[in-house]
């Protein structure tokens, strides 16, 4: 019984960290995407002005 309880405790903490780190990765990817789009937008703006 104690062993099975330990499994649920470990699973709960593991799930929490997976979700938090997963969301952090999602934010990092979104930041990378939006930075790339911003760089493209700047380059197009420079070309238009030339």
């Amino acid at each position: 019984m104690i062993a099975s309880n330990q499994t649920f405790i470990i699973a709960a903490y593991a799930v929490m960290w997976m979700v938090l780190l997963g969301y952090m990765v999602r934010l990092a990817r979104a930041a990378g995407r939006v930075n790339a789009a911003a760089a493209r937008s700047r380059q197009e703006h420079v070309k238009e002005n030339e």
Partner: protein
């Protein structure tokens, strides 16, 4: 125009995740076994703060949705949307952690009692809110509709909180430092503060990304209008 870590964005993730590791370590190592549940009680340190963070995020949604409806400023809409995404994530996490606690404590993964059902409804409302934002192209319409859904959806938060008092439920009454044995209050407080820092970091970072996305959209619209002349 770029999204580099600046100011407290640089240290906030380090401090918040460091604080969370320290708080969880403290809770796991020092918290005594509960008379009824034994060490299963340790799931409280992740389940209860996750639920509180969802409530806080939806309170931010409520405030900034109403502010958007009043002032019609784009940044209010973006902040409400950022908080809604983080709130939905924490609500989903709360449900998963609750199931992992419920299975060994009650013998079932899920039961349709008032607390669990109202939390699921809250989760679905904000998943709907995010789906609405993804499918409406017009920015003004998207902001108005999502502000209305966000403000109405946040009304469910007090219903979720009070559900264990209003109805007879399998779920226990609210856990808070006021209702807990003193042996558990410090651990709960530390974990709640650490997760609050993580929540602030997530909402802030999502908001920065949303603002840059919108700035790019505005630049593209301006370029398209300039090219059409």
């Amino acid at each position: 125009m770029s999204l580099k870590p600046e100011g407290n964005s640089r240290w906030l993730p380090l401090v918040s995740f460091g604080a969370l590791i320290a708080a969880q370590t403290h809770a796991i190592l020092t918290s005594p076994a509960d008379a009824d549940m034994g060490h299963l009680q340790k799931i409280m340190y992740v389940h209860v703060p996750a639920a509180w963070m969802a409530f806080i995020a939806f309170f931010v949604v409520l405030v900034f949705s109403l502010r958007y409806l009043w002032r019609r400023r784009e940044n209010d809409d973006l902040l409400a949307a950022s908080a809604a995404e983080v709130g939905a994530m924490f609500t989903g996490l709360t449900l998963m952690l609750g199931m992992l606690w419920g299975r060994p404590a009650w013998g079932v993964w899920w039961v349709w009692d008032a607390r669990l059902t109202s939390t699921l409804v809250l989760f679905l409302i904000f998943v709907g809110y995010l789906a609405l934002r993804a499918y409406v192209d017009d920015a003004d319409q998207r902001a108005r509709w999502s502000a209305a859904v966000g403000a109405i959806g946040a009304i469910n938060v007090p219903i979720v909180y009070m559900s264990v008092l209003w109805w007879r439920t399998l779920h226990q009454p609210p856990s808070s430092p006021a209702t807990l044995d003193p042996a558990y209050t410090l651990g709960l407080r530390l974990n709640a503060i650490a997760l609050l820092l993580v929540t602030v970091y997530f909402i802030r970072r999502r908001y920065q990304i949303a603002r840059l996305e919108r700035a790019i959209e505005h630049a593209a619209e301006a370029a398209a209008m300039g090219g059409g002349r």
